[in-house]
Amino acid sequence: MENRQQTASSRKDYWSVPPKEVYEDLKTSDRGLAEQEAKQRLNIYGYNELPTHAFSRLRILLRQFRNPLFFILLVSAIVAGFFEVRQSVAIIAMIALSVVLGYFNEYKAEKIIEDLRQTVSLKAVVIRDGKPSEIDSRLLIPGDLISVYVGDIVPSDMRIVESKDLEVNEAVLTGESFPVEKTSQVLQIQNPIPQQLTNYMFMATVVVHGTARGVVVATGRHTEFGSISRSLVRTRPQTEFQRGVRRYGNMLITLALALVVGIFVLNALLGHALIESLLFSLAVAVGLVPELMPAIVTISLSQAARNMAKKRVVVKRQVSIEDLGNMDILCTDKTGTLTSGKIALKDYWSLSDSPDQRILQYSLLCNSAVVGTDKITGNPMDVAIWEYAIQKGIQDGVRSHVVVDEIPFDYQRRMMSAVVRNGSESLLITKGAPESVLSRCQNIEMVEGNEPIEPVREKIDSKLASQSGAGYRTLAVAYRTVGSKSSYSIEDESNLRLLGFLTFTDPPKKDAREALDKLKELGVDVKILTGDNELVATKICEELGIPVYRVLRGSELTQMTSPEIRAAVEEATIFARITPEQKLDIIKALKTNKHVVGFMGDGVNDAPALFEADVGLSVDSAVDVSKDTADIVLLDKDLLVLANGIEEGRKVFGNVTKYILMGTSSNFGNMFSAAAASLYLPFLPMLPMQILFMNLLYDVSNMTLPTDNIDVEYTELPKRWDIDFVRKFTLFFGPFSSLYDFLTYGIMLFIFGASPALFHSGWFVESFWTEVLVIFVIRTRRVPFITSRPGKWLTVLTLSAVAFGTILPFTFLGNFLGFTPLPTEFWILLILMVATYLLLVDAGKVFFYKICKF
């Protein structure tokens, strides 16, 4: 045997050969492998486990440095260190703060997921040397013979060699809600997809009925499940937010470099001292760098993560919170996310207008479920009948009946029967697949009485076809009176009277509709990506009120070119019968179309899409690989928390955007006027140390920005990084600040006839006041800005910083920095000038926001 495995569906076609040949090829037998041989094979094949995203503290730590701004900040810290060590220390402290906060939050989230994973350890019943024993499923190897029972999670890919009434739920792999019937029968098909392999069982699927024995044909990463996990071992694509930060970083680097070179060259050409010119140009560049950006982002994200944790949402990658807020399309799997992933009885019906409650009562009597005190187990449909009856409080109606005999379900008849006695009357009740039950019925019970079934058969078939088309599963219930005898057989299942039908569905989650409505309000479009068929998906959309504009099947997608897919993904609401790879293609196409895409799923077939999406969302009950891949895990299956999360994300994005707009407009204006003034003033407009100190004070005043209030209208629609908008904002609002700086130069020189020290002091105070106070105008789109209430701490800290900046020239520290007290008349003019400035910027907003939409 080769020291190499392939996935089950692409390796030797074991599905097309009888079990005997499978044994021969895998050098095993119906007694299983010998223990010794198993040990040797384990050395060759390795453990039956999937490579999971290893929980590494170092990796979490390194992840915190993947930010271009860190590089800029580090350079700033080094440059600042030449003039002002305190500034350098402050920048390094801010880097450290954001790294530490980010690390601890992400560590906590990873730990929760890791702990969840470790609570699950799978066992498998393996036959070795002819004896069954229970072993850790990690020790399984190809050639092992294993048995599976109801409730088991299939531990590896296996070719079934024996089965009895076997049904497997493959939703985790295919997205199909209803169980699939499996047998050991040989299949004659070429290049099958996993759904077609009815004599295979796949790793991580669940046995919901019957038992089976099978030969392991693939383990670990070589299983179907593993092949999907393998596709995730690659570099994670950058999220929209990370791409935005990178673009912003690039813009700043370009701007800073241009200023440094420009100021230095011009000053040098004008004959200013070279070293002084260089230091001044570097200080101006440092003044432009938003040192607080990483700290603001991390503090905002940590706060949002904490708020979300209170609602039992684990944020594994904090950076994804912003993308959650900016998400404009949510692609979601159907089963287990929008639907409960569990079969439920929808209703019961007959051809009469009013359904007979006996349909339900009789199906409770003819039922294989085991009803315990706190749990009902057994066949999912029988369990669903009991749950429905208990919910409606009608289970007591069957207490007067005594079940005296049962004819169990089997796959040849596809039905079961029970003989019940109620007083002196004995009834044989049959429940099963409609076509099987109908073929044994002679009459149908109508309101008017019993009628022959043949005249209404067409009507019944048509109704059943429409139910099947809508994705429902149906069971028929029939009965007849029987005489009393000691035992009953399948021969008694004849000459039945049809009573009615039971319709089963995988119902939408209770809160799904409300959550989807909320998402719609928030401007998030929902698209359904499912392995299930289009009729089922359409029905769910109808029930959830999702308008369906177009349905695309996986087979149609395979025929399309990339541009066609890009156009189709915009129109379609439902993507049905699609493979995990196609889910990935859809996400990529939407991202190429400039959408911020979220994906929510819980199965292994969802993992690649979770990986590719800007925001991967999963649920607690999801398979490990999905939880590993997801950015955000909902511990409660409450979809409404998603809407809350989006609002949290938008708040974070809003506050980070405020900081960026402030930094790049007001800072830019100030630094630009400093640079311009250096060209014609006989002295530097501000000393490098003074520039850096102002920068430090400004940063301190912004520390509470993450706690600021956000206008309601800001969170109504998704936003996205738009560097063009930031650039326009800077170009427009920057000169306002420069204008007032130039004005201050004029006042200081020509009204006050200022010395260099007085000039520095006057400009420092004016520059600081305008730079800090303009946050109250820029933080909101509302005009006038006073209609938007700023956060308490932002107000307190900003006004405190202004007060400190005001008294600074009168203090010892001010004297140390080279400032001198300012005349009273200056303060009067300053107040008037700053008031005009703030009002002018507010008036500018009317024009700007009409022109530039964001």
Binding site: S673, A676, A677, Y680, V712, E713, E716, K728, L731, F732, P735, F736, S738, L739, F742, L743, Y745, G746, I747, L749, F750, I751, R781, R782, V783, P784, T787, E825, I828, L829, L832, M833, A835, T836, L839, L840, D842, A843, G844, V846, F847, F848, Y849, K850, I851, C852, K853
Partner: protein
């Protein structure tokens, strides 16, 4: 005269940027992107800038803090009326 050039330059720059933004909006409108209707009165800050420019130049040229202060107060009154007229309606 350098400070007159500087102040004028800032105001001229702002006006140029406004025109650029307006032109870029027309381009986006042609591409089907929605944007609000812009009226001449939305450009008020440009007219105020022009007025301020004259005021500041005159007051600094005459070294008169009184002209400077009174001019600012008049401009503030105009801007307060303007922002009140453009009061944002909450959505």
């Amino acid at each position: 005269m350098w400070w007159i050039v500087s102040i004028s330059w800032s105001a001229v720059f702002l006006i140029v940027v406004s025109l650029y933004l307006y032109a870029s909006r027309s381009k986006r409108l042609a591409n089907g992107t929605r944007a609000g209707r812009v009226k001449l009165s939305d450009f008020l800050f440009v007219f105020v800038l022009a007025g301020l420019l004259a005021l500041y130049i005159v007051s600094i040229d005459r070294s008169s803090s009184v002209i400077f202060a009174s001019g600012n107060i008049v401009v503030e009154a105009i801007l307060i009326v303007y922002t009140a007229k453009n009061w944002t309606r909450k959505s």
